[in-house]
Amino acid sequence: MAATARRKSRPVAIDFHAHFVAPEAAAFARPYSVTAANTTMPDDPRVTKKALAEAAKKWGKVTRQRMQDYKIRLKEMDRTGIDIQVLSASLIVQYTYWADAESSLRIERKSNDLLAEIIATAPDRFVGLGGVPLQSPALAIAEMERCMGHLGFKGIQVSGSAGHMELGDARLRPFWARAEALGAMIYIHPAGVAEQRYQKHQLWNSLGQPQEEAMAMMSLIYDGIMDDFPKLKICIAHGGGYLPFYAGRVDRNYLDKPQMRYGQTQTPSGYMKKSFYYDSCVYDRDMFDFLIKKVGARRILLGSDYPVGEEDPVGFVTRSKLLSAADKERILSKNAAKLLGLKI
């Protein structure tokens, strides 16, 4: 109803990239999370451990409030002009694919149950994407079915790989087949790489996330998932990561080296234009315009990375000089509404 009232003055805005945290899941995952691995100090004598701890405490409080207090969340949504948030768990803090399948399922179920409760507090403002234990395809399918059925979610969020399996792994094919059949929206958002090389300067986040997204897309293309399940609806976080912005090298490999084609019937760019969707969370206007040029406005969904991302996500889209009013509306809400089956 609130959305209808607001629609009169401006286009509806659906934020596809917004996180929540289930405290129990976060506690379970903490020892194995990328933030636990990230203990490197900046090698700057002016950065002290004490100052770092104080800043972390202060910032942690703000983030927790925005994540866990739903009144604050709704206020923030109103302030930034977001009518509907598509909620997915923060895999940075509650990634479970490292655990045994049964424990992982138990935690994912708890998180999904909480998500259903959050949605019930404001069903016209929230839409859900559930979590699954992807390291166990059979259990992942079962939980996806529960999410799409009983819990009424619109799709599933997965990380950039399934731990020891790339997303295109043969063992995951039943999962993709089922997702396609259910019409589940799939959001690929990496949990962060905990390897040591990625930790200094928080590189796991700035450099590592778009790299994981590139790996995810390439595996899905080269392992034949995109051709074999053509109706899959997959959105890649952070504007797709590196690949849509650096497609020349992979396209050239396809065009000039026929012996290097696997599982694909067109260039990687072909899949980028026709098969994948992307959120708008790239923090750079030129990049945003470039993405529009490369994949088209019908492939892009407004996404802020709430509670830590783009401060003015709607303005980021509407200020683009390349976009027509109709295209802006597509990115702000129409593309997402169509994919998620929402009436706006």
Binding site: D43, Y246, R249, M260
Partner: protein
């Protein structure tokens, strides 16, 4: 054949005031390759793997083109290239795995052979050398020798030295020397042997620009660009991912500042982009135009990745509709002539 010769003649006839220079070309020096082969990327990622076939080493004419000067000149004539800046192929000849003493011996042999190779055709070839980067001081010493004794025009280094990133303190003597000598440092990855990159030739398509991203991130965040502001660094493959995806780095740095985690830099990340040089080995004109919208066109130099890579490098640059003629001339040879002090 006749048609190709005509194309070359046509390119020549449109001649510019500056020669056409290819700044990204490789050579294999058989004496050196015999010492480094076992430790090279093709060997580490498994003989017969996709990665090996991707380089075609030992197959068709690649080895001939990597070694034989006359074949090289014929190819240059066909492509319309007046001068090649030749670097040792670090994918094959990187020496960083060896003890510093052994590494130095390998690089000294390589530099000696390179000087001999280019001296046979001084009006067509300019050589750059390599150094044992596993020892920053030895590397600085060999850099001085290869420039001042052997007349080489610069140096090629990889993106990582064992586990060390390029900005590591132990490498500062090398960077200090490079700045003092004023010679360009060509950063070209020797290759990433991560298991995830073994399939589908990802070691080349995905991992090379990723390594370049790591190199640029380290050079900026570890303070090299602030500490040695006059150092001239050329990043291969158009800089890899980061010049096309800098929004996330800027946002990440702002977030790190808020949380007290940031080393104090003079600029935000994207402010450093214009301090690097890049080649045009990106196979996508939109990317070239994006790159030159972010940094001055005078920072980009034509490259082919010979004997792989771009086969119509002049046409690639010329077909841009956004770049001015002066910009194209700078890219095709103007900047390289100055940077590598060609014709002197």
């Amino acid at each position: 054949m006749a048609k190709k010769a005509k194309t070359a003649a046509r390119i020549k006839s449109r001649s510019r005031s500056v020669p056409v220079v290819d700044t990204h070309t490789h050579i294999i020096i058989p004496d050196v390759w015999a010492l480094t082969k076992k430790h090279s990327l093709p060997a580490r990622t498994g003989a017969g793997s996709d990665n090996l076939s991707a380089t075609n080493i030992g197959q068709d004419k690649t080895m001939l083109r990597m070694t034989d000067a006359k074949t090289r000149i014929k190819d240059m004539d066909r492509m319309g290239i007046d001068m090649q800046v030749i670097s040792p192929s670090l994918v094959h000849q990187e020496s960083y795995w060896a003890s510093p003493k052994k590494g130095l011996a390998i690089d000294q042999l390589s530099n000696q052979r390179m000087a001999e190779y280019v001296s046979a055709y001084p009006d067509r070839f300019a050589g750059i050398g390599s150094v044992p980067l596993q020892d920053g001081k030895l590397a600085a010493k060999e850099l001085d020798r290869l420039v001042n004794r052997l007349g080489l025009r610069g140096v090629s280094i990889s993106t990582q030295v064992g586990k060390l990133e390029l900005g590591d303190k132990s490498l500062w003597p090398f960077w200090r020397k490079a700045e003092k000598l004023g010679v360009p440092v060509f950063v070209h990855p020797a290759g990433n042997d991560d298991r995830r990159m073994h399939r589908f030739g990802f070691a080349f398509t995905l991992a090379q620009p990723w390594e370049e991203a790591m190199a640029m991130a380290s050079l900026v965040y570890d303070g090299i660009m602030d500490k040695f502001p006059k150092v001239k660094i050329q990043i291969a493959h158009g800089g890899g991912y980061l010049p096309y995806y800098s929004g996330r780095l800027d946002n990440g740095y702002a977030q790190m500042r808020k949380r007290g985690q940031a080393t104090k830099l003079k600029h935000k990340f994207s402010g450093y982009l214009k301090k690097f040089y890049y080649d045009s080995v990106i196979f996508d004109v939109d990317m070239l135009e994006f790159l030159t919208s972010k940094i001055p066109a005078g920072r980009v130099m034509m490259g082919t990745d010979y004997p792989f890579g771009e086969t119509r490098p002049i046409q690639f640059v010329r077909k841009s509709k956004k770049l001015s003629r002066a910009d194209k001339d700078a890219i095709l040879g103007g900047t390289a002539t100055k940077l590598f002090r060609l014709g002197t």
